[in-house]
């Protein structure tokens, strides 16, 4: 076992090359709806049991199914009303199961990136060839249904194995979301090729908040606003990234959807906000800051108040 991921060296939040986002924006805000399918009868994995109850876990399966039947449509309407695009963390089998959902995403100009094939097919214990096969499947499926290239990656159910980031880079993935170690994009150390991390979030993520931490609805809006206000303020010094992961089966519920509406209204009312997709953030950073950050890291992170 590894004692640390080994994909990055320590980088203080000071003395870094200054990031300026397009249009002189100080913060890049991106929304990542996780559009998923959890299988009723998934195969066994040695390290993770898919359902808390015996199969069929009707309660938990159908809870997630709500997202595709009802929640997604509500979520998409609210985001469209605020002019905010999504970057879809997509279990790509959704393209085959529910192509109407993909059509709606494309109609709204959303990015599709891969969240594996199903959310019940983990990367734990997959061989590298098996990991490559899943990535190739994602690339082909996303291209076939949307005409888009596969640029981003979040391992299904965050079950990446030790070699996954290396395999991603070798397969031409441009950005990974498997690590939440920073509020800015960062170069990822991989054995071949080039990969960057783009900030995802476990803090303003509706699963930990609504499902694990029992967060009241109004608190959700307050947390999102507080996260935004701080990153917006810090963005005056150097551009920051705020990610809002969403799950239609939770935030798309009738008792919660207004909380997203209120949070987005707060964000879009500010100047200097770049409403971006994951792909756009990764591309801008790679174009203008990858080399500067790599050089700064290679030089031992000079600067700051030291």
């Amino acid at each position: 076992m590894l004692a640390e991921p080994g994909h990055y060296d320590y980088a203080p939040y000071t003395g870094r090359p200054r990031i300026v986002w397009p249009g002189d924006a100080r913060i890049a805000v991106w929304l990542a709806p996780n559009i998923e399918h959890y299988e009723l009868e998934p195969p066994n994995n040695p390290r993770k049991v898919p359902w808390p109850r015996p199969v069929p876990d009707v309660l938990n399966y159908s809870h997630r199914d709500y997202g595709n039947r009802v929640g997604f449509w509500r979520l998409a309407d609210v985001m469209a009303r605020h002019g905010v695009r999504g970057s879809v963390s997509l279990n790509v089998a959704v393209c085959d199961h529910y192509p109407e959902i993909i059509e709606r995403c494309c109609e709204l100009g959303w990015e599709l990136f891969s969240h594996g094939t199903y959310n019940t097919r983990y990367f734990y214990d997959l061989s590298e060839d098996q990991q490559r096969a899943v990535i190739a499947d994602s690339r082909e499926t996303i291209l076939k249904y949307s005409g888009q290239s596969l640029d981003g990656w979040l391992t299904p159910a965050i079950t990446n194995d030790e070699t996954t980031q290396h395999v991603l880079a070798e397969e031409g993935i441009k950005y990974t979301l498997d690590m939440v170690h920073d509020d800015q994009p960062m170069p990822v150390k991989v054995r071949n090729g080039r990969l960057i991390s783009v900030p995802y979030s476990l803090e303003v993520n509706d699963v930990p908040l609504f499902q694990n931490r029992n967060t009241p609805v109004e608190r959700y809006t307050a947390i999102v606003k507080a996260q935004f206000d701080q990153l917006y303020a810090e963005g005056a010094e150097s551009g920051t990234v705020m990610c809002m992961p969403l799950h239609p089966y939770l935030t798309g519920q009738p008792q919660r959807i207004a909380a997203l509406d209120e949070a987005l209204a707060h964000i879009v009312a500010h100047d200097g906000v770049w409403l971006a997709t994951g792909r756009e953030i990764a591309a801008w950073y790679t174009e203008y800051y990858y080399d500067a950050f790599s050089k700064w890291l290679a030089a031992g992170t000079p600067g700051g108040r030291r």
Binding site: H37, E39, L40, E41, P43, N45, P46, P52, R53, P54, V55, P56, V58, L59, S62, H63, D65, Y66, N68, R69, V70, W73, R74, A93, D96, H97, Y98, P99, E100, I101, T117, Y118, R121, D125, L126, S127, E128, D129, Q130, Q131, A133, V134, D137, D161, E162, T163, N214, P216, V217, E218, L250, Q253, P254, Q255, R256, I257, A258
Partner: protein, 310 residues
């Protein structure tokens, strides 16, 4: 390091258009045919009450039902706290609903009716609808149950409730929303026509069973007092806030889409029937009922209206 992988892990036998089972079809709610409720109401208000019995010696396997006894045996606290619901809490709910002219649907464990015939009589006198909710909370329907055993469970529950009530029993709720792959076939076989376990929609939809069609009804879980108050330790005011928010969303959606919606108020006598909560329940109901276009209905009435106007 990466090992040899997991054989056949990337076979996807159900990867196809639609769902990964044949129980019902996928439906995108915005594309569902609009339904018109009686009186052109915008929102049907369905009050569904879990009237459950938790035996003190209930098994912990294959899992403990939400609200189930999980302290060491013999847990007098857990047992009596739940039993309070059938002795006191439910009568408070009856008074609150009666005062507002509302009839509930009781999701009734058969054990409650057989153990407490006095309560069964009161429920009948309130003209509540009876939905068969299995035998008791210790007798779960699940994948590990043999077909003959599960058939006997359904028969026992439905038979006991048919014996205790004159009104027709049409609906089924499996304790803890838990089913085996064949539960719905057995429920249809027992002559019931609507089911309430799958929490994947805001509106009814047709379900396949071996011996005919069933209708799925959207019993709330995320918005239930059992989930919010008991499992998530929310305050009563947060429960009320969430119900009213859901109502507001559904009420607006009904106007926008021209299709009726359903607010399912799923409540539990030993939770919302507590003295410190009952007035909040009444006030919440009043907030909903002051709106024009709210149709209070039982589950069976909603199923019938959906078939007539869907």
């Amino acid at each position: 390091m990466s090992g040899p992988g997991i054989p056949n892990y990337l076979d996807y036998p159900w990867r196809r258009r639609g769902l990964d089972h044949d129980r019902f079809l996928h439906r995108n709610l915005p594309q569902a045919k609009p339904v018109v409720w009686p009186g052109k109401a915008r929102v049907a208000l369905w009050v569904a009450i879990h009237v459950a019995h938790f035996p003190m010696d209930m098994p912990r396997q294959p899992f403990v039902a939400p609200g189930g006894v999980d302290r060491p045996y013999p847990s007098y606290w857990d047992y009596t706290q739940r039993d309070y619901g059938s002795r006191i809490g439910i009568y408070r709910l009856m008074r609150a609903l009666d005062a507002r002219g509302l009839r509930a649907t009781a999701l009734l464990n058969a054990a409650v009716a057989t153990r407490y015939p006095a309560l069964a009589k009161e429920i009948a006198a309130s003209q509540w609808e009876i939905v068969a909710a299995g035998v008791d909370m210790g007798r779960l329907h699940h994948g590990g149950l043999a077909k003959t055993d599960e058939r006997a469970l359904v028969k026992e529950a439905v038979g006991a409730l048919r014996g205790a009530f004159k009104s027709k029993i049409r609906g089924w709720h499996s304790p803890a929303h838990s089913e085996s792959m064949r539960t719905l076939d057995l429920v249809a076989e027992a002559g019931l026509d609507y089911v309430t376990d799958w929490i994947n929609d805001d509106m009814p939809y047709p379900v396949n069973a071996e011996s005919g069609k069933l209708t799925a009804m959207p019993l709330a879980w995320d918005l239930s007092d059992l989930h919010l108050l008991f499992q998530q330790h929310m305050d009563t005011s947060e429960f009320v806030e969430q119900v009213l928010r859901a109502f507001k969303t559904l009420y607006a959606e009904a106007a926008q889409t021209g299709s009726g919606r359903i607010l399912t108020l799923t409540i539990t006598p030993w939770l919302m029937g507590q003295p410190h909560r009952i007035r909040a329940l009444g006030a919440m109901l009043d907030r909903i009922l002051e709106h024009v276009g709210v149709w209070p209905a039982t589950g069976a009435e909603i199923v019938d209206a959906w078939h007539a106007g869907g």
